[in-house]
């Protein structure tokens, strides 16, 4: 009878939530609208800046040298002579100012080191691009001069290049792709799991309390724990749907979005049956932890609005571990993080996306998560069964 009651309540809760615009917005707005929007906006803005930086490179040159001709060979380079070059650089009308001393070419011909002054603006990314372009051109010119000097001295180029290193990247393409995703997917996954259930959890207890429906429900001949279990499962369903939508959204952005280079390497081949299973278990446990916590806060709150205030802390709880571990590779993550709530889920997610899950880490992470789930559900249940918990006043 217990499971039958849970199923009846769960079916009704899901029907009710699926008809609730607030719950839909809370579950899908962030993953399906905001994430792609931010990615596209960022991607487009970066590619536009890069395009503009390449297409038009206005420079001012004081002095003369063969280097100027080499610079002009680069597409987009235009030499300008503004009245006040320093001010033009500050205003972004110039990307860099090159000052060549009078004896520049003579010093080079004499086999000496000639000095060159380049002024640029590090806060302007287009100016930084111009600086890189000038540096590459100088390097090209320097190689030309070195080759000429070596020839005059009767030496080959190998004389100044005794070692040629051959660097080999041992990370497979799958791992490189996973490594790229491991940086931000755990963050998105954890935040979606936390945020996806907030509106539902708040509606299912604080909202019901406010509308008086919980009081009626508590007069039915069913155990309060069965009601809570059904509500917990309903919140978990919404959280997992939100997390699933986040993953789909990121996959689409990575494969068809403006990050062309990232899309070329994008692959889900780092998933093996084992890593996929670990990811599913981690998602379920984190969803249960957040759902338990959110229902606990929703039970404490007397009104929907009060519940919303309490829930903002849950997002904070999800973001701190995700941001802290975001730049770290799994090999750098300290062992104790696998036993800390939320941190354990983020750390295991990273291992999954790197394609290699340490069995001890998985055991500690999943085991400790089970304990945290039990603790949150225990307290949520105690609060929910407390006398008068379902009453508004």
């Amino acid at each position: 009878m217990g499971w039958q009651v849970i199923w009846i309540v769960l079916k009704k809760e899901l029907l009710d939530l699926f008809r609730d615009r607030k719950a839909w917005l809370g579950t899908f707005l962030v993953p399906l609208v905001i994430i792609p929007f931010v990615f596209f906006l960022l991607g487009n803005s970066y590619s536009n800046v890069e395009k503009e930086a390449r297409e038009y490179v206005p420079l001012a040159v004081h002095g003369s040298s063969r280097l100027i001709a080499l610079l002009q060979e680069n597409p987009g380079v235009k030499l300008l002579q503004p009245a006040d070059p320093e001010q033009a650089l500050q205003a972004g009308q110039l990307r860099a100012i090159i000052t060549i001393p009078e004896s520049f070419d003579e010093q080079i011909q004499a086999g000496k080191t000639a000095k060159l002054h380049v002024a640029f603006d590090s806060t302007n990314s287009k100016s930084v691009y111009a600086r890189d372009l000038i540096e590459q051109t100088i390097e090209r010119y320097s190689k030309e001069i070195v080759a000429k000097r070596l020839k005059q001295a009767g030496l080959s180029e190998q004389a100044i290049q005794p070692i040629t290193p051959d660097f080999q990247n041992v990370a497979s393409e799958e791992r490189q792709s996973g490594g790229m995703l491991a940086g931000f997917i755990p963050l998105m996954l954890v935040v979606s799991l936390a945020s996806g259930g907030i509106a539902s959890a708040n509606d299912l207890v604080a909202g019901e309390k406010e509308r008086g429906t919980l009081e009626s429900l508590l007069t039915a001949p069913i155990a309060a724990n069965h009601i809570l279990t059904a509500k917990l499962l309903a919140v978990m369903v919404m959280s997992i749907m939100s997390a699933g939508a986040s993953l789909i959204s990121v996959s689409l952005v990575m494969s068809v979005g403006p990050f062309g280079g990232a899309g070329d390497h994008f692959s889900l081949a780092f998933f093996s049956p084992v890593t996929l299973l670990v990811l599913i278990v981690v998602i379920l446990l984190m969803a249960a932890t957040f759902a338990g916590l959110e229902l606990m806060l929703s039970t404490i709150a007397k009104t929907f609005k009060e519940g919303q205030t309490y829930m903002s802390g849950v997002i904070f709880l999800a973001m701190v571990p995700s941001y802290m571990l975001m730049p770290q590779s799994p090999v750098d993550i300290a062992e104790h993080y696998y036993a800390l709530p939320v941190f354990n889920g983020v750390a295991l997610c990273k291992e999954v996306f790197y394609g290699k899950v340490d069995p001890v880490h998985a055991l500690v992470g999943i085991g400790s998560s089970l304990v945290y789930v039990a603790i949150t559900i225990f307290f949520a249940s105690r609060l929910f069964r407390r006398e008068g918990a379902g009453l508004k006043n």
């Binding site: 009846i8 009710d16 008809r19």
Partner: protein, 242 residues
């Protein structure tokens, strides 16, 4: 049958109900009278097992609210006034069916009960519409149907006509009379003396959580020496003869 035995309820330092004792016989419509804040809703909530008495006990159909809450809940139907507690995104039918299935009714029995109740309460035209846009009277009809879907022996009505217009209140009173004919035990709480006069023969009058009178309306009138129930009510509230 409802038997309230020396029941008290305390919230911190506030005593909401003090040593309340009265008995509602099987098949009787009994009035629970008192002004707002007198302790009527607290008493009803204890009967519905939402609150536990601090001392004393209540028996409903022989089951203790303190020791056998699930058995009590199986036998009662409770209707709250004011906020009727319906799911606004569900249709009237879905609201009633949900509670029917929670009381263990089969789906065919639930549909049978919904058809019968929607006919009696004249809800056929809106039974498949979502409750959110309903008027106060329509919502109250759905709430009554939800209360009665499992055909309970004991019906608790807590200020059920609050906010209803004259027509809706009249339909409601007819429904109560019909339930009485079916032999249901009904506890009707109200602060409206006229309504109590129309429906009940016996009442319990409470003020500031204490029982001031229990017995027949005729005995109440005789004790006060007046037929005007409103005057009697005011005398109790203002600490008169009683």
């Amino acid at each position: 049958m409802i038997e309230v035995k020396e029941v008290s309820k305390q919230f911190g330092t506030i005593t909401a109900v003090r040593d309340l004792t009265f008995r509602v016989e099987e098949g009787e419509v009994y009035g629970l009278l008192g002004e707002n804040g007198a302790g009527k809703t607290t008493t009803m909530r204890m009967m519905a097992t939402i609150l536990t008495p601090t001392s004393g006990d209540i028996e409903i159909s022989g089951f203790s609210v303190r020791h056998e809450p699930l058995e009590v809940r199986r036998r009662i139907g409770i209707l709250f006034g004011g906020e009727v507690g319906l799911y606004s995104r569900l249709t009237a039918r879905e609201n009633i069916a949900y509670f029917g299935s929670l009381y263990g009714l089969t789906s065919s029995r639930v549909q049978q009960r919904i058809d019968s109740l929607s006919r009696i309460l004249e809800m056929e035209s809106f039974i498949d519409r979502r409750v959110g846009a309903f008027s106060r009277g329509m919502k109250q009809k759905v709430a009554i149907a939800r209360t009665l879907v499992h055909d309970p022996d004991v019906i608790l009505l807590d200020e059920p006509t609050t906010g209803l217009d004259v027509t809706a209140a009249t339909i409601f009173r007819r429904m109560v009379a019909r339930l009485q004919e079916e032999g249901k035990t009904i506890l009707f709480s109200s602060h409206n003396m006229g309504e109590i006069n129309k429906l009940c023969k016996r009442v319990a009058l409470i003020h500031k959580g204490k029982l001031r009178f229990s017995g027949g309306l005729d005995a109440l009138r005789k004790q006060f020496g007046t037929d005007d129930l409103d005057d009697i009510f005011m005398a109790v509230v203002e600490g008169g003869k009683l």
